[in-house]
């Protein structure tokens, strides 16, 4: 050994610590740049105004509301299904049972499938198969449901965020003490009553966390809605399930790549990115706080 071990040790600590610090620095730099670039353009008019003059001026209100409707419909579809799946996995089948493991594997796989493939699925299943079938049956083949719209985009997105909900709810259900369940069962309640009156109320925080994380993910993901419902520019808000919609992330993508004048709309791009970032961070922090709350209960 030519190099003293002391120095090797310091080198190892330096490299590993440097990686950690670099990661933190990277996050702070990205946030800093986006805040720096966008904060100046943020205003009430920007938030509450519509795009004007070929999207080179004006605000992003339709995009904000489009995102809101998207995640609302997505949660309505995804959160109940995710919650029920989590309950089934924890209350009805054991950790080691074949069924439980198969479903868990499916959920893990679902979490690993690229977002763009969900988009293809939305196009192939919801729009072409379900929408096309509905059009043939109820509208005599005229185009009504077999085209991109906010419903298909939301359903596609709810499938994408399903694993997020399931994992969060499972985490919460596991913190419900076993004694509570046993007490309930001993008093003569059925399994379903125990779940409904004991487990579920105790897991509310987890369900909320799951919903928030799913919304945060859904608000930021653009790939699945590229061809299942997002629109380039719409002056009005969607007023039905068959309407297309504007979305914040899609708006950033469009503005920064296909805008008429990319340089001139830089402030709008940065400000839109900032709004999206604030939205997802607020949601994430809320989820982190709720989870912290939940873990505190688990250790009590």
């Amino acid at each position: 050994m030519n190099i003293p071990k002391k120095w090797v040790g310091r080198g190892v600590a330096l490299v590993t610590g440097g990686s950690a610090i670099a990661t933190v620095a990277l996050v702070l730099v990205v946030i800093g740049i986006i805040v720096h670039g966008g904060a100046g353009h943020l205003s009430k008019d920007f938030i509450l105004g519509s795009p004007e003059k070929g999207m080179t001026e004006g605000g992003i209100y339709p995009a904000i509301m489009g995102t809101f409707f998207l995640v609302l419909l997505m949660s309505l579809a995804g959160v109940p299904i995710g919650t029920i799946t989590a309950i089934f996995l924890n209350e009805y089948v054991g950790q080691q049972s074949k069924i439980g493991r198969a479903i868990r594997f499916a959920v893990n796989t679902l979490a690993g499938i690229p977002a763009i493939v969900f988009g293809l699925f939305g196009l192939g299943f919801f729009i072409n198969f379900v929408g096309g079938g509905a059009d043939k049956m109820f509208y005599g083949g005229s185009l009504h449901w077999a085209q991109p719209n906010i419903l298909w985009a939301s359903l596609t997105m709810s499938l994408l965020t399903l694993p997020v909900v399931i994992v969060s709810v499972e985490e919460a259900i596991k913190t419900v003490p076993r004694e509570l369940r046993e007490g309930s069962l001993a008093l003569g309640a059925t399994r379903l009553e125990t779940i409904w009156k004991v487990v579920l109320p105790q897991s509310m925080t987890g369900i909320l966390t799951g919903a928030i994380l799913a919304i945060s993910r859904g608000a930021g993901e653009v790939a699945p809605i590229l061809f299942t419902g997002a629109a380039y520019f719409l002056p009005n808000l969607p007023d039905g399930l068959t309407d297309q919609f504007m979305e914040l992330g899609y708006h950033i993508y469009i503005m920064s790549t296909q805008s008429v004048d990319v340089e001139a709309t830089k402030p709008i791009q940065f400000a839109t990115t900032l709004v999206l970032l604030i939205l997802t961070f607020t949601l994430n922090f809320a989820a982190i706080f709720l989870r912290w709350h939940l873990r505190r209960r688990a250790f009590r």
């Binding site: 089934f88 009805y92 479903i103 699925f121 930021g220 993508y253």
Partner: protein, 410 residues
Amino acid sequence: MKRRIRIGEFLIEKAIATIAFGSLGAIVLIFLFVFREAVPIFTMDARALSGGHESISSSGSTDSAKATGESESYGDPVGESESYGDPEPVGAAESYGEPETIGAPEAYGEPETVGAAESYGDSTTEAPAKDTSLPASASMLGKPPPPSESAAPDEGASILSQILSGNWQPVGDHPKFGILPLLAGSLKVALIAILIAAPVGIFAALFTSTFAPRWAKEAMKPIIEIMAGFPSVVIGFFALTILASLVQTVFGLDYRLNALVGGIAMSMAVIPLIYTISEDALSAVPKHFTEGSLALGAPLWETNLRVVLPAAIPGIFAGVLLGLGRAIGETMIVLMATGNAALLTPSFVEPVRTVSASIGAEMAEVVFGDPHYVMLFVLGSLLFCISFALNAVAEIFIRQRLMAKFGGAS
């Protein structure tokens, strides 16, 4: 009365089970419906896929005229005479007969027609422009023509050799659906991303789970969660506006948007994933490993590097695999930051077009059911298979780790 409730409960419990199986069903459905749209690739003959030029070489002009008409229906509304006369002022009849013209359709893929996403990157418009200026052939960028390319036309090309050729020009009168440039693009970006993200993520995880004081570990968690919470479109935007210029200046590159920028940006999306899973694996290493090593007199760094890290290797490897899957499948970052030119070159600093970006950029413009549409679904199926395989392998590694852990503890 009591009986009725029981029946109700029975039904509800069945419903719960059914919905839970929904996630299993969702996977099957995704598999079915993404593949269903891709199936015509097997029934479709090579002529339809290649937009007509196969039939040109093999049969008479009537057949080829039919094929041209076919391609026009889904391609751009470019006139027949215009497109055929474009590369060289040769009569249409002559170009039909010659096998050499098979290379010529290069020139038809005009930069404007390749898709809207192409129009922003300064580099991208430049690259296809190069194609048109040079004499049309597959080797326009100094790369050797792929073997399948030269073999294909004469022997009535099979679909496979079509797909495995080196040209991706889905729009135009003679669309070409060679997926090699796209695969190469995906691999390049994923490789760069992993080469950056794996060391950084693993070292950072090693630091926070072993060396760092408790407060640093607690501080790191929210930072990583923030990083994981960055929407990919935000990372793409950052790469497009800030990182691209920075990388170009630092490395003195010709192209502003390229595989390197895409890879660096992608590593930002992969680091949190690798960090989280590595951190999990490292913290799961039993404490008595560390204590035993320290008791034998090994310094802390040696314990961490030679005892804790090897014990956690399967979990870390699973993390890297999942990171690789994410890097291959991620769409928005590569769509915005890599320049989107389907070039098959060994260079890492030229624009690339990845599999996912092709789907994202082109799907909105294709006509339902035409070869281009089918090809994009083929690409989607490919992505599905890759991510499924990586997931399955990662799962095996994680389970092995768990079993090893439980085995060691008992």
